[in-house]
């Protein structure tokens, strides 16, 4: 097969339109307010919390 590296992308045009993402600034604001909300709980004993998460076994 000589078609290993096609240069054209014939299907690109028909690719589904991605759902409109929130505008960048708006999305950053949303992310910041989410981080505001969870900040306290993440800061509380973070080190001890993380260290105590141990899962034995599994594959």
């Amino acid at each position: 097969m000589g078609q290993t590296f096609t240069s054209g992308q014939p299907y690109e045009d028909d690719a589904p339109e991605p759902a409109p993402a929130p505008a960048k600034a708006e999305s950053t604001d949303a992310l910041d307010s989410l981080l505001d909300e969870i900040d306290d709980s993440l800061q509380t004993n973070a080190e001890q919390f993380v260290r105590s998460f141990v899962q034995k076994g599994g594959q």
């Binding site: 992308q9 993440l42 993380v50």
Partner: protein, 435 residues
């Protein structure tokens, strides 16, 4: 409280319903307590990606419901505590677990060669489908594509916990063994975003379809697979090269692009073109571009590693701390928390910061209803009817049996969703088969 005690509280209602902590549910999936006292959930057999994603996400809701019940039991016992359940890949002590994928392939004499041919794809797909993680080393912390990569020690093997292969070759098809073989992939990360699951399983399925159709793939056999998977995982720039057996040095970006190009060239030929295939290819292309062009925003609402990277970068800037700061590790854990209230993934979805693939109603339905186009439909109907009748029964992936009955129904064809023997069995239980 020990993990075993917590698991006991978590599985209280499961044991009461199924008289065991290892059960098949009415949605035909399997739920049990694995070694180390963590819940393990295996979706029923699915023949569409949307069914699979819905069933996988339904599993998160099922175990989350167990968490809520477990917490209530703790409160009733006068214990003040919360239970955190994470769908992630590693713990703070460096243990690894992760996510298994199973693909049913046609049996062939050269299975080892067939499976080996998939390794370069599996080793490099982490640049698009990895869970992303902060890796801590004595030299400092850095962000990697995959938390699981460092825990892989072999390409193919029939052992799982001892040697940690990328593909488990144990011959256990849970189907007609003359026709089918199980491709049991262990090298994937557990991920949260539905789009990541779509790409992970979707692209792997497309690769297998080409291989089964004997489409010639570029020979990208790697010289050293264990070295390669680590080199790729730890290079977020996408510029690190891995050595091929033929002496060439290629980046993971180049290898993934080569596979994507072959897959694309077969759309309309070996691969039937559907909106879903287009969706997978578009996401695959953008994922590769995101790494090549170092523009992570191309996929930061869809692919786990990029979603988490954005989250961690933003939180790190706010804290003005190093990447090794425990608060960032705490953030990472929160992303994987299955709780819709505490879990950061779920809150990102609620804020429109992460895109979803399947309808919420489909996930909700998949909690109790099996996929309807595979053998799962038969198992689900049997479990529901048998449990409702109060009769004892045993069930596994291929067998259905009422305790004391002379006959066991053996279901060897996973693609068959109707069976007169099961109809008879359901009638004897007084159930309408379609109920």
């Amino acid at each position: 409280m020990t993990p075993e005690e917590v698991a006991g509280h978590l599985f209280h209602s499961v044991v009461r319903w199924g008289r065991s902590s290892n059960v098949f549910l009415t949605n035909a999936s399997r739920l049990y307590i694995d070694v180390g006292a963590h819940p393990e959930y295996a979706t029923a057999e699915c023949d569409t990606l949307t069914d699979l994603i819905a069933s996988d996400k339904a599993g998160e809701r099922i175990v989350q419901a167990l968490v809520a019940e477990g917490e209530q039991r703790l409160r009733d016992a006068g214990v003040d505590g919360t239970i955190h359940l994470y769908k992630n890949n590693t713990d703070s002590a460096g243990n690894s677990y992760g996510c298994h994928e199973n693909y049913l392939v046609r049996r062939r004499a050269d299975f080892r060669a067939f499976a080996s041919a998939l390794l370069p794809f599996l080793i490099t797909r982490q640049i698009v489908t990895g869970a992303g993680t902060i890796t801590r080393t004595p030299e400092g912390a850095h962000y990697s594509f995959s938390p699981r990569a460092d825990h892989m020690w072999e390409g193919l093997s029939s052992a799982t916990t001892r040697s940690r292969p990328m593909i488990n070759t144990r011959d256990e098809p849970h189907a007609n063994a003359e026709l089918y073989r199980r491709m049991h992939v262990i090298v994937g990360d557990s991920t949260m975003a539905e789009s990541t699951a779509l790409l992970k399983v979707g692209a792997t399925d497309l690769m297998l379809r080409l291989m089964e159709a004997h489409v010639r793939l570029p020979d990208l056999t790697l010289a050293n697979e264990m070295q390669a998977i680590r080199a790729v995982a730890h290079d977020l720039t996408g510029t690190a090269t891995v050595e091929l057996s033929d002496g060439r040095h290629l980046t993971a970006v180049e290898i993934q692009q080569a596979y994507l190009d072959v897959v694309r060239s077969q759309v309309g030929n070996v691969i039937e073109r559907t909106a879903e295939v287009d969706h997978i290819l578009d996401l695959w292309e953008r994922g590769i571009r995101a790494v090549r062009e170092q523009d992570f925003s191309l996929v930061d609402t869809e692919l786990d590693w990029a979603i988490k990277h954005r989250l961690i970068e933003r939180y790190q800037a706010r804290l003005s701390c190093g990447l090794g700061d425990p608060r960032l590790a705490r953030l990472e854990l929160a992303f994987h928390d299955v709780s819709p209230e505490r879990g950061l993934y779920h809150r990102l979805v609620a804020q429109g910061l992460v895109r979803t693939v399947v309808e919420d109603e489909a996930i909700e339905r998949a909690r109790t209803v099996a996929p309807q186009t595979t053998r799962a439909r038969l198992r689900g109907a049997f479990v529901e009817a048998a449990a409702a009748s109060g009769q004892d029964y045993t069930v596994d992936w291929v067998h259905l049996k009422l305790t004391g009955a002379s006959k066991t129904v053996l279901l060897k064809d996973p693609f068959r969703s109707e069976d007169s023997r099961v109809d008879t069995l359901l009638e004897s239980l007084g159930a309408d088969e379609r109920g």
